[in-house]
Symmetry: C2
Subunit: 313 residues, 2 copies
Amino acid sequence: MKNYASRLHAAIREKGNAVCVGLDPRVNQLPAALLPTGLNPVELSVEEAAKLFEEFCCRIIDVVAPLVPVVKPQAAFFEELGPAGTHALANVIRYARSAGLIVICDAKRGDIGSTAGAYARAYLAGADPDAAVWGADALTVNPYLGTDTLQPFVDMAIERGAGLYVLVRTSNPGAGTFQDRVTDGTSLFEHVAKAVESLASQTSEGGGYGPIGAVVGATYPDELRQLRDIMPHVPLLVPGYGSQGGSAADVAGAFDEDGLGAVVNSSRGIIFAADQEPYRTQYGPDNWEQAVEAATRAMIEDLAEHTPTEKLR
Amino acid sequence: MKNYASRLHAAIREKGNAVCVGLDPRVNQLPAALLPTGLNPVELSVEEAAKLFEEFCCRIIDVVAPLVPVVKPQAAFFEELGPAGTHALANVIRYARSAGLIVICDAKRGDIGSTAGAYARAYLAGADPDAAVWGADALTVNPYLGTDTLQPFVDMAIERGAGLYVLVRTSNPGAGTFQDRVTDGTSLFEHVAKAVESLASQTSEGGGYGPIGAVVGATYPDELRQLRDIMPHVPLLVPGYGSQGGSAADVAGAFDEDGLGAVVNSSRGIIFAADQEPYRTQYGPDNWEQAVEAATRAMIEDLAEHTPTEKLR
């Protein structure tokens, strides 16, 4: 069972939910318990900060690996620490894979021709974590440069049993600037969605979900339901739950009737739960990992109550 | 003189041309003279390959720094070597800055909100190479996510005297898949161009070129001329000359009447000149740096002959 959709859905069924924990470490939000006593985080060197990012993320992985199927490290926060940060990113991906998690590297890459091929070889390890230097199961990619620029990623996804998530409808307030522009009666994001569905249906094995997924924000629930219909072969990655304002009811339309076909991401709401009520009062800053666990369980329950993921139990 | 357009144009005037040398190292095209005797490049570890990438690029910088104003390292080829490769990228950027070159990091980043801010802080060093871990003067960015996602990059560009190059019209054969879609009588790439011009004119000092640039491929010469007109405050980065098929006449429309407002990139045609005629026969594999110099001088002459950059001399 090598292909991405099979591996993803096996993990979702095993854990009984479709939660993706976003690993977005930030220096000024690291738990005080991780820092040398009395140190202001801004005094950390990039090498020290990168080591703490790695420890922070690996301890989160220890907490969430028994509970959820997927984690999504955000490359930007690691790259902000320079080469030391990218080293931490590679280690975090490897650690998550060894804990049995599906890893989506959220790097939103995209370029033309042989350059796209270099990104694909770098990030899309697929079924074998050692097949690429960054070791991820899947990568987020940007479609603006055209469908020919997605092809090197698609080829590598098939070869290695990896997945792609093409940006279709992002969760930011200004997502519509270009994505909403209508041509031939159809908005740009729908044109992108149709191109993604075409790639996914051509590459799916046995007519089910294929390796080519799509990013669709939880902050636009009507469009989420519409895009689920347009892309029956496409696994969705849904950001925007929690801190960005999306509710469990908002993401219900992302799933098929069996509760499959999507993962819903939460980053800050889980990894920095100890900074937020009710967890801050309940656990205090020293028990930040218990806060992470409680927030993860709460999200699993919330999704089970309001979406078809209830059927996964 | 801190702002990006001033620094860029001072460098262009000083060198008397608008050539950008693209640093796109590839393991299987490294000069044999750089490799340990008898070693097949595919046998290199990523750490060994990264060290050779750094040496190769720094030796190219030694050759081209007296001749051209700008270099553009392509992040993808460094990232393909993992964390060791990104370390080499940081060193190459630093070396190029110390040689007095303007450095455009071609990483085509883009994300929402605070994540875009992390990329901006990471790459946009601007006037002071030590202001960011990656030390670049400028960064290429992708507009698909919307203009609100460009704002963190714009803010950082202004704060640090850095530049941005927003993808408007890329040089690949399938660029038109989404970029050519027409709404309100205007193609998507023109809508993006107008948004970029708006950002550039709002942030230019004294009404000239601003810090917000655009990527426009040499492979679409008519659109290049049209986009030059639509974006009078926007410095252009023009890929696609040489190996991708764009000629000097094709890029003439990128420049204003003084020969300013654009840089034209060549990557493979310069850095791997020793593999190509007439340089292969003339210099042979051991004199690859002389081939790089000859190809660079030939491109400078070609542009001077067919574009307004003749006036820079």
